[in-house]
């Protein structure tokens, strides 16, 4: 009880809280968001789709739209914000801050494009294009055979030059060119080395449309399945005999996966992974651009075998041309179905390498940040929306129809050096004919270069190669005779993964490549676990020193491999270890 009479309170300005705590939805933003969402159900799993709609319409995600979207969906603001800020392709801008320029040029600076001169483009373009155009570097956009690759908004620029980009910007030619659908195509056409398509500059090859595909016998197999003319058990056995393994990189035997998921209780779902983001990899795009229905039919067969009631296709956002094709062809399929169809939903990624990881992809389909899940439980048991899930890479199901129609022996009949089957090698780097080369499993890199890629570029001598994209490690030219397949590279600390082969020459340094890859991993780490989030950053910092602290890097690498949650963190140290093991002269 203080006797302080007269301690008059000083004149003051009241601190009035004029609204409820925090940001409140603005009526106009609410109306704008409502208009964009239309009568779409306000389901949580559609959050990323809705963010795309706002980004596409307004060129950015402004705070007031995020607040309105949260209110509209009954989500907390932060739930919307943490998703929006996770993905590269969303431009979250503070109210009042300048919106990004209307045109964005993305220059890929992943390894193959860096070798082909991406850095020079990134240096020159901003000055030349001016303030109305934003130039960003981008992680691999899946056009490594066309390096250096760029996009002007959604328009891909193969073998990009300043002039090509300037011309597109000037013409405001921002969309992916549409593709014609009258082609005929069979995957075998890739088998003969001489017939492989070269680098080319086309971004919209003609593809096999629905009618053409059906006329050539397409969808007969799935129709037979549904008509009771096929036996699921027999199909699973065929897949097992073919030896087909998951072609996203993990190589899990396909037949066995079907058997596992089939044994789970319903309801079940299938999730198809076309988030092809591993630097160096573009095979899925090459097939999808030409022959989408072979993939769709394979997906339907797989879903039928495991009794999945819905198929979710997750397509990376960079593949705008593929998205147009899939949207159109799925609509045609649904309009005139060859048989009863499960629910099929096409989902659009938003720029995140990690979403190629199967459980991260599932999170993303659920409308969340692409954060890999801990296993167990495995996605085959608890996957998308908590249901047992059959998850496949695009190419894995792409081969299903041919294997079942031609027989498992057909597929297993290919192979070299004691290995069986076919591999779709995405080859880029210092070779004459980079591209997607369908070759026998077990081929060596030397054979691949010589027989399929027309040899090394003139003036370049073979120095080193990446057998499996950014994660698969780096090997010296002296080890060019190892059969390339699942399991054959493990003893050298490498793996084939998605069969993305990048060739380095005497003009390159493996340590530079490793730095490029670590920068990529650092940027693409989801940020969940310490070894990966902090480890990639600290590793890169150490690698930027002229002399590497190899013992410390090795110690760090071991912890990253042992203790990271998912393959990204576990494989990120591979380039470091490869360099310290095979290219020690570069870093000491």
């Amino acid at each position: 009880m203080n006797d302080r009479a007269g301690a008059a309170t000083p004149a003051r300005k009241p601190k009035v809280r004029a609204t409820l705590k925090g940001r409140q939805p603005q009526p106009q933003a609410r109306a704008e968001v409502r208009q964009l969402l239309g009568d779409a159900p306000r389901r949580r799993d559609l959050l990323i789709e809705f963010l795309h709609r706002i980004q596409d319409r307004y060129g950015a995600l402004a705070d007031h739209h995020l607040v309105a979207l949260a209110a509209e969906m009954g989500l907390a603001m932060t739930e919307v914000y943490e998703v929006a800020t996770f993905y590269h392709h969303f431009d979250v801008v503070k109210d009042g801050a300048a919106a990004p320029p209307t045109v964005t040029v993305r220059v890929c600076d992943s390894l193959s494009c860096e070798l082909a001169g991406a850095k020079a483009l990134l240096e020159k373009l901003p000055k030349l294009l001016g303030k109305d155009v934003r130039v960003l570097h981008a992680p691999c956009i899946g056009r490594c055979e066309q390096a250096p690759a760029a996009t002007v908004h959604q328009h891909p620029v193969p073998n990009a030059t300043v002039e090509k980009i300037q011309a597109l910007v000037k013409a405001r030619d921002l969309s992916h060119p549409a593709a014609r659908d009258r082609a005929t195509f069979a995957p075998e056409s890739f088998i003969e080395p001489l017939d492989t398509p070269g680098p080319g500059s086309t971004v919209s090859p003609a593809y096999v449309g629905y009618d053409t595909y059906r006329k050539a016998g397409g969808y007969r197999l799935i129709a037979e399945c549904l008509a009771g003319a096929r036996d699921a058990e027999a199909l699973m056995q065929k897949m097992e005999h073919s030896g087909l393994r998951g072609l996203g990189g993990a190589g899990f035997p396909t037949g066995r996966k079907w058997r596992i998921v089939r044994a789970e209780a319903q309801p079940k779902v299938a999730a198809l992974n076309i988030d092809e983001g591993e630097p160096g990899t573009f095979k899925d795009r090459v097939y999808l651009e030409r022959d989408p229905h072979r993939f769709i039919e394979g997906m339907l067969i797989a879903a039928w075998v495991v009794q999945a009631g819905a198929c979710y296709i997750y397509l990376r956002d960079e593949y705008h041309g593929c998205r147009a094709i899939l949207e159109r062809e799925l609509a045609r399929l649904k309009a005139d179905p060859p048989c009863a169809l499960p629910v099929i939903e096409l989902r659009r990624g938003a720029g995140a390498y990690i979403c190629g990881e199967e459980s991260a992809m599932i999170e993303s389909i659920e409308g969340k940040r692409g954060r890999p899940r801990l296993r167990p439980p495995y996605v085959a048991q608890v996957g998308l929306f908590g249901y047992p899930t059959l998850e496949h890479n695009f190419e894995t199901v792409y081969w299903v129809r041919d294997i079942l129609e031609k027989g498992p022996e057909w597929f297993a009949g290919f192979g070299r050096n004691g290995r069986k089957g076919l591999r779709s090698f995405s080859v880029s780097g210092r070779v004459k004919k980079p591209g997607m080369h369908l070759a026998p499993a077990g081929i060596t890199v030397r054979e691949l270069i010589d027989e399929y890629c027309g040899g090394m570029l003139d003036g370049h001598r073979f120095y080193a190669y990446l057998p499996g994209g950014a994660s698969g490690g780096i090997l010296p030219a002296t080890m060019a005779d190892i059969p390339l397949d699942f399991d054959t590279l493990n003893k050298h600390g490498c793996f084939i993964g998605s069969a993305a082969v990048v060739i380095l020459s005497d003009k390159d340094r493996a340590s530079d490549a490793a730095r490029n890859l670590l920068a990529f991993f650092k940027e693409e780490s989801c940020g969940q676990c310490t070894p990966c989030r902090v480890g990639t950053a600290k590793a890169l910092a150490l690698m930027q020193q002229p002399k590497w602290d190899a013992p410390l890097l090795k110690e760090l690498s071991q912890a990253m491999m042992d203790a990271s949650i998912c393959g990204l963190g576990q494989a990120a140290p591979n380039p470091i270890l490869s360099v310290t093991k095979h290219f020690g002269h570069e870093i000491s």
């Binding site: 009880m1 203080n2 006797d3 302080r4 009479a5 301690a7 309170t9 003051r12 009241p14 009035v16 809280r17 004029a18 409820l20 705590k21 925090g22 940001r23 409140q24 705070d63 995020l66 907390a76 603001m77 932060t78 739930e79 914000y81 943490e82 800020t85 996770f86 995140a352 990690i354 940040r369 801990l374 167990p376 439980p377 048991q381 650092k522 940027e523 693409e524 780490s525 989801c526 940020g527 969940q528 676990c529 310490t530 070894p531 989030r533 902090v534 950053a537 600290k538 910092a541 150490l542 110690e555 760090l556 071991q558 912890a559 491999m561 042992d562 203790a563 990271s564 949650i565 576990q570």
Partner: protein, 937 residues
């Protein structure tokens, strides 16, 4: 999933090897838990018992034989024959590397002395980190309660889980990615500008001090930690006071049955009112010649205007003499007493005993009259018990939860967390309230019905249930009476006919009725939106009927729960602080009960029920009541039409007030007795869940303030009662002798367990969380249906007063604000009086949010700031009654519900205009309370 779906398998013993030793764990217990119970410590940071394990920090990785990579022991369950090694070179290398990586990014100056990262680094002997540090983010010091120093953040997301999964306040997010991944509030806003409600759960969860109490108050080590219970609402959260130099420096949640470690902003940051300079520290006596008048504004800094200091002897003698003389001259009915639901059970019991045995009448009441009296009236009439049938946390066993006329995220914040948790797990939540409140976001159905139309809406639900044959025939047959009359009555109330009245479309009413009736377990929770009407008892009758006709009571996850407001309103009522009943609801007009108490207390007792709160005020106005003893209540702020209440109290010949502060009521006193705050004494309180809980003394009271129990005892002695109660334990033991429901609870058990659920009739009884399982405690064992018809509010809007006034509370302020407006953090967050109004209504007044508006009723007028709130229905204004500068109860209508005698706080007619005098602030409120600072070194 299999593990969860097969509850039995989950608890099966599992034998596995841990560091070469064979141990037995459980299939549902993670490796880290089993290891801990076998004395094997595994480092961990993102793992915290109580939070969902997330496995992101990777400090707890262990080697499992046959697996390619290490496994997080916080997320992995053992399997038979598994071989786990926690201390192999490989496992330890990763554990240490994780710690080193995180240490590399720690700031040099730590924000806490108890960083778990530092502790583990020491234990594992991790030296100086060999990596360069990251670029550090700036501190965010925008919030009055919490400092955000993300330079110490290790991205473990414990705060995210605390905010989102535990409290479900959904403010904290984990945004961006990779090394930029960051803890954010809303859209990466400063915490102080965000939707943060400052529950502090994130601070309690943070392992490294990145989130800490503001201004470094967490850096000072406490001298003592004292376990107690929160002094605010009826949820009854257990907590621990951290005390240094006789000051509470910090409060942490404790694992109590109603809160499991959770707290809200009041419980965690509202403790410093006890050391506010306005605390009364010496008895005061009214100066002779200072008149009492209803027109005043109290400035506690100017207490000398009306009072002088006195010794305890003088003050007590004066107080006792005044009461005694009125009793002896004007008769027993000329005195009345208001006890308090903020005091302990022991104080409440002694207070009512003092009135009954010392004053000689039953004129004793307390603020239950203003909150749940009508609910209790309906419950007593229907099932002869005012107690909740189920505890709040039982919502987890429900399939459908109906929350009606309650805003628990504001008024019962921790109880609301259980409701939100249930909703997140898929329990269907129906929120019915004229205001759209925060809980609505979590609801499957939101019924924003027109204010005052509860009976219409509830009858329409019952109509549907009857019409569609969804009643529980067996329950009605075996356990109830009077169903036919109810059935006939609801026939008048089809959803189609009621839709235009209550504003909810008929199909929605039908859907909700079906949902409620047909679920395996439906639970109803309600608050003052139901009770504070002239038809409050009818509202509650409808809810009781709804539950009984569908058999939705008497099992886990299904029943009736009127959410109690005050920390001890349940206990004060149990203890007999009610004019109609002795302790344990034994009616004063029941000769048997009266005889029991006459024998037990050794005095003759009045067989007539006494007057209720508002009736006492009316009697005082008329001069029938001439003297009062008010302990810890502030009717001059909390009563409806306070102008009238103040006039009544000013008319008293003799008023004794016992309180912490010079309240509006104290200002009208003849004698003021400085009492103790909750952390300054021992005693028990009973929460809304029927748990008796022990509060322990943590600090000494200031100056010459005295414990309330001692003061009551001294007053009693001065009006002729020969009392010698020295400790609450003695009072509690006396209570057990006349209150069967707590007869089995011993003081020793309370000291051991802190919390015991009642009914607990025999020592050793575990206590009964779900009651009415086989019968209702009525003479026949049956519950009685009581039909209700529509009675409109006493004062409907008209041309002169076209707007509906709804009053209530807000999160940061407790009741009349005497405590919370003197707590630095709470006063800083909500400093000024505000009226919530729909933005369109505000625009129609041509006013902006934050402008001064004037709200006027037939009884009074106040000016305060407008707050835009889309949740306030059009044509209504919501005003919290805690602001003396703009006391909402100057406007409210003192009409009473005929059964519960509760005033209609939730509905009266006002007019709203733009402009008015800026609210006049005195020596507290308005952000003047000092913010807690580190204890002086």
């Amino acid at each position: 999933m299999d593990r969860v779906s097969n509850a039995q398998a989950a608890t099966m013993p599992v034998e596995f090897k841990l560091n070469g030793r064979t141990v037995v764990g459980r299939a549902d217990e993670t490796i880290i838990e089993t290891a801990r119970s076998h004395g094997v410590e595994i480092p961990h940071l993102c793992y915290k018992p109580g939070l969902r394990p997330d496995g992101n920090c990777r400090a707890c990785v262990v080697e499992i034989k046959g697996e390619r990579v290490l496994a997080p022991s916080c997320c992995r369950y053992p399997q038979d024959g598994m071989e786990v090694t926690t201390d192999s070179a490989r496992a330890v290398a990763s554990q240490k590397m994780v710690l080193e990586l995180l240490l590399a990014d720690m700031p040099e100056a730590r924000h806490t002395n108890e960083s778990e990262l530092d502790q583990w680094a020491r234990k594992l002997d991790v030296g100086l980190p060999r990596f360069p540090a990251r670029h550090q983010p700036r501190a965010d010091l925008s919030h009055p309660a919490i400092a955000v120093n993300l330079d110490a953040c290790i991205q473990c997301t414990r705060c995210v889980r605390a905010c989102r999964e535990e409290q479900v306040n959904d403010v904290i997010g984990y945004a961006f990615r990779g090394e930029h991944a960051k803890i954010v509030f809303d859209l990466d806003d400063p915490m102080g500008d965000s939707t943060c409600v400052a529950c502090g759960e994130c601070v309690q969860a943070c392992p490294t001090g990145a989130l800490m109490p503001a201004r470094g108050v967490g850096l000072a080590a406490a001298d003592r930690k004292v376990d107690s219970v929160c002094p605010y609402c009826g949820v009854g959260c257990l907590l621990t006071y951290h005390v240094k130099d006789n000051r509470i420096v910090q409060v942490q949640g404790r694992d109590g049955p109603s809160n499991h470690g959770r707290l809200c902003v009041k419980g965690r940051y509202g403790f410093d009112y006890v050391s506010h300079r306005h605390r009364l520290t010496t008895p005061l006596v009214r100066k002779s010649g200072v008149p009492k008048t209803k027109d005043f504004v109290v400035d506690p800094d100017h207490w000398r205007d009306a009072f002088r200091e006195a010794t305890w002897d003088e003050a007590l003698d004066l107080a006792g003499k005044g009461l005694r003389e009125i009793r002896d001259r004007h008769g027993k009915k000329a005195l009345a007493g208001f006890g308090s639901a903020k005091g302990s059970n022991e104080e409440a019991y002694l207070f009512q005993k003092l009135v009954r045995a010392g004053f000689g009448s039953n004129n004793v009441d307390h603020c239950t009259r203003l909150c749940h009296a009508s609910s209790v009236a309906a419950l007593m009439e229907g099932i002869n018990s005012g107690a909740v049938s189920n505890q709040v946390s039982d919502v987890r066993n429900a399939e459908v939860v109906l929350v009606i006329g309650a805003n628990p995220t504001v008024n019962h914040p921790v109880a609301a967390t259980w409701i939100k948790n249930a909703a997140k797990r898929g329990v269907k939540l129906i929120v019915a309230d004229p205001r759209r409140t925060e809980l609505a976001r979590h609801a499957t159905h939101v019924l924003q019905f027109n204010a005052d139309t509860d009976v219409a809406m509830l009858n329409a639900l019952m109509y549907t249930i009857v019409e569609e044959g969804l009643v529980d025939e067996a329950f009605i047959r075996d356990r109830t009476s009077g169903y036919e009359a109810l059935r006939e009555n609801v026939k008048k109330y089809s959803p189609e006919a009621m839709a235009p009245i209550c504003g909810i479309p008929a199909p929605t009413l039908r859907t909700v009725a079906r949902l409620y009736a047909t679920s395996k377990a439906s639970m109803i929770l309600w608050g003052m939106g139901i009770s504070q009407h002239v038809h409050g008892t009818d509202n509650a009758r409808c809810l009781i009927a709804l539950a009984m006709m569908t058999g939705q009571i008497g099992r886990p996850g299904t029943g009736l729960h009127p959410l109690r407001g005050q920390n001890n309103v349940q206990g004060a009522s149990d203890s007999g602080l009610i004019p109609m009943v002795f302790p344990d609801y034994q009616r004063v007009d029941n000769p048997e009960a009266r005889k029991r108490f006459e024998t037990y207390w050794g005095v003759a007792l009045d067989p007539k029920p006494g007057l209720t709160v508002v009736e006492i005020m009316n009697a005082a106005q008329k001069g029938e009541i001439r003297g009062m003893y008010v302990m810890g209540e502030n009717p001059a702020m909390s009563d409806p039409d306070v102008d009238h209440a103040r006039a009544a109290m000013a008319a008293l010949d003799h008023l004794v007030v016992q309180d912490l502060f010079l309240t509006e009521t104290a200002y009208l006193a003849d004698v003021i007795l400085p009492a103790t705050a909750w952390p300054e004494k021992d005693g028990t309180v009973s929460n809304t869940d029927r748990m008796v809980q022990l509060g322990r003394k943590a600090i000494e009271p200031p100056g010459d303030a005295r414990e309330d129990l001692w003061i009551i005892n001294e007053i009693a002695r001065r009006i002729g009662l020969d009392w010698h109660y020295a400790h609450p334990r003695e009072v509690f033991n006396e209570m057990r002798g006349c209150m069967d429901s707590i007869a089995g609870i011993t003081w020793e058990r309370l000291e051991r367990d802190s919390s015991v659920t009642y009914p607990c009739e025999k020592e050793g009884d575990p206590g009964t969380p779900v009651i009415f399982t086989t019968h209702f405690p009525t003479a026949t064992g049956r519950g009685k249906f009581v039909p209700a018809d529509i009675i409109p509010a006493a004062e409907r809007p008209d041309r002169d007063y076209p707007v509906v006034l709804i009053t209530g509370r807000q999160l940061e302020h407790w009741h009349t604000g005497a405590m919370t407006r003197r707590a630095g953090v709470l006063d800083a967050i909500e400093p000024e009086p505000v009226a919530s109004i729909h933005p369109l209504d505000l625009a129609a007044l041509k006013a902006k949010p934050g402008d001064v508006i004037t709200v006027e009723s037939r009884r009074g007028s106040i000016s305060l700031y407008a707050r835009a709130d889309e949740g306030t229905p059009a044509g209504a204004v919501f005003i919290p009654f805690c602001y003396y500068e703009a006391a909402a109860n100057l406007l409210t209508n003192p009409v009473l519900d005929p059964f519960g005698k509760i005033p209609e706080f939730k509905y009266c007619a006002v007019r709203v205009t733009k402009g008015g005098a800026m609210p006049q602030r005195l020596s507290f409120g308005g952000g003047q309370a000092p913010l807690p600072a580190p204890a002086a070194a």
